[in-house]
């Protein structure tokens, strides 16, 4: 079994500010396994998803005007959302020994701005995506006008939520200001908006990681916000940034690989040998083709993509090496990287 349950991390555990190895549950380490196989990431993550879904649900009640809020809830509370931005933020925060209650509003906000970005990206004039994870995209269901307003509303709500919900007896105001700056920078004209612009500009089949970069930005932002909330040092924030960026990009590359594999397997039946990548390109709609032609996988193929993913895994882990003094608090961040790469072979 891939994940041992010998060392469990309860999501309700309050972690004292100074984590001494003596104060926590004793873990059994198997010297030949990588560090993260002792950590039950599945339990940790699913508990976190449940918590964040509840908070997001409470954050967007069905108030007047109902259709906007319905639309916001539709995109924010989408089924099967993995809440990766949340996990990165909360885990980065908990690395420094804080109680996650203080980080939850920011983590929620990250989900909101992320959702906002996706809603706008899926619009016909942008990526033109009819669906996401088998769910019709917002504009398919609510129309383009409402989708635009929904994106705008989710984005602003994120900022409001951080200010209104973060316990200021725990988190000083200057850290909140830094977090807000971080998110604003990430989504602005030199961050995501720039990425989205390049995404529109580039011809398909130009392999320049443009699409993947967007996810790197999100990961970077989430991890950095966790550190900023915790009052981490500038060095530590930098490490978290690089970690987050690597994980974000590699997560997306592996996503594309998994998609290419399943599509390829489907297409292979009854056909003579055709490359997986060709099949994938053939099967897509215009909008999806727009997307596919720009993914690293569709240009360089699955094997090369996985090489890149492994490289990013090492990079991410290297950054975590510099944070080893936080002991077991680092386990979630380690496990997150491994999950991002290995999940194709894991039965969830």
């Amino acid at each position: 079994m891939a994940f041992s349950t010998l060392s469990t991390y309860s999501s309700n555990t309050y972690i004292p500010k100074t984590l001494s190895p003596i104060n926590r549950r004793h873990t059994i380490r198997c010297s030949s396994s990588p560090i993260s196989t002792q950590f039950d990431i599945k339990t940790y993550w699913t508990a976190l998803i449940k918590e964040i879904d509840q908070k997001l649900n409470d954050a967007v009640p069905l108030q007047h005007p109902k259709p906007i809020h319905e639309s916001m809830r539709y995109s924010l509370l989408a089924d099967g959302a993995k809440r990766a931005p949340t996990v990165m933020c909360v885990s980065a925060f908990e690395l420094f020994g804080g109680n996650r209650v203080a980080a939850m509003p920011t983590a929620c906000a990250l989900e909101m701005v992320h959702a906002a970005s996706l809603v706008h990206n899926e619009l016909p004039c942008m990526d033109d995506a009819p669906s996401r994870r088998d769910q019709p995209s917002n504009h398919s269901k609510f129309g383009v006008n409402l989708a635009i307003l929904t994106g705008d509303s989710l984005f602003t709500l994120g900022f409001r939520h951080i200010v209104a919900q973060t316990p200021t007896d725990i988190i000083p105001h200057d850290r909140l200001v830094r977090v807000i700056t971080e998110i604003a920078r990430t989504f602005g004209s030199t961050g995501m908006a720039a990425g989205r612009f390049l995404d529109l500009e580039f011809e398909p089949n130009t392999a320049n990681f443009v699409r993947e970069k967007k996810f790197g930005e999100m990961g970077q932002c989430s991890a950095a916000c966790g550190g900023l909330l915790a009052g981490a040092s500038d060095d530590e924030i930098q490490r978290l940034r690089k970690y987050g960026k690597s994980v974000g990009v590699l997560y997306q590359i592996v996503d594309d690989v998994l998609e290419a594999k399943t599509d390829g397997e489907r297409k292979k039946e009854g056909k003579s040998y055709v490359s997986i990548v060709d099949d994938v390109l053939e099967a897509k709609t215009d909008g999806e083709r727009k997307k596919e032609g720009k993914s690293y996988v569709s240009v360089h193929g699955v094997e090369r993509a996985m090489e890149v993913a492994e490289g990013l895994r090492s990079q991410a882990k290297k950054e975590l090496d510099g944070l080893e003094k936080y002991g077991d608090n680092i386990l979630p961040l380690h496990s997150f990287v491994d999950y991002a790469v290995d999940r194709g072979s894991i039965d969830w």
Partner: protein, 207 residues
Amino acid sequence: MDDDPSRRGQPSNHTIFGVDMAILAGDALFPLGFRHIVSQTPPDLVPETRLLRVIAEIARAVGSTGMAAGQFLDLEGSTNAVDFVQEKKFGEMGQCSAVCGGLLAGASDDEIQQLRIYGQAVGVLYQVVDDILEAKVKKEENEEEKKKSKSYVSVYGVEKAMEVADELRSQAKKELEGLEKYGDKVLPLYSFLDYAADRGFSFTPPV
């Protein structure tokens, strides 16, 4: 949305840059606003607490219970909602601006409330007067009302709209009276109100 080819005589953003760029530009201007507040406000003059309140206020004004709500109802086009739409689309911006000024200055909650009501009233008043002036011009030129949005004038008629404008003016004035202790410093706010109502002068268009 409103499908405006131009604004104040200038072609709208999407007309020049395309719809996709226009969306990105809007998406980028939002966060720039927040970033600008944080990076440019002198920290020795304004404590962080007030910055956070300002950010929250702007986010609220623009969001799903503020301007976005107004936009949405405007698009729906129901005449019943015209008051709400005017309040949300134009009142919110006025309200927000006045309140932000007060928040930055560390005004009392009462004073913030007065500024809020003042700003709201001026915002809507400005728009109502705009509509009245436009209606008068249109009447003279015998043009057909083609605008998508419903205005006070198109729903209630010019006379009722003028009554509403008068009411708003009194409302705003009343709030300013409550701030009289600040002496001459209230004068710009009075003048602004008068301008919204009377348009006693016009700005020289750029050469």
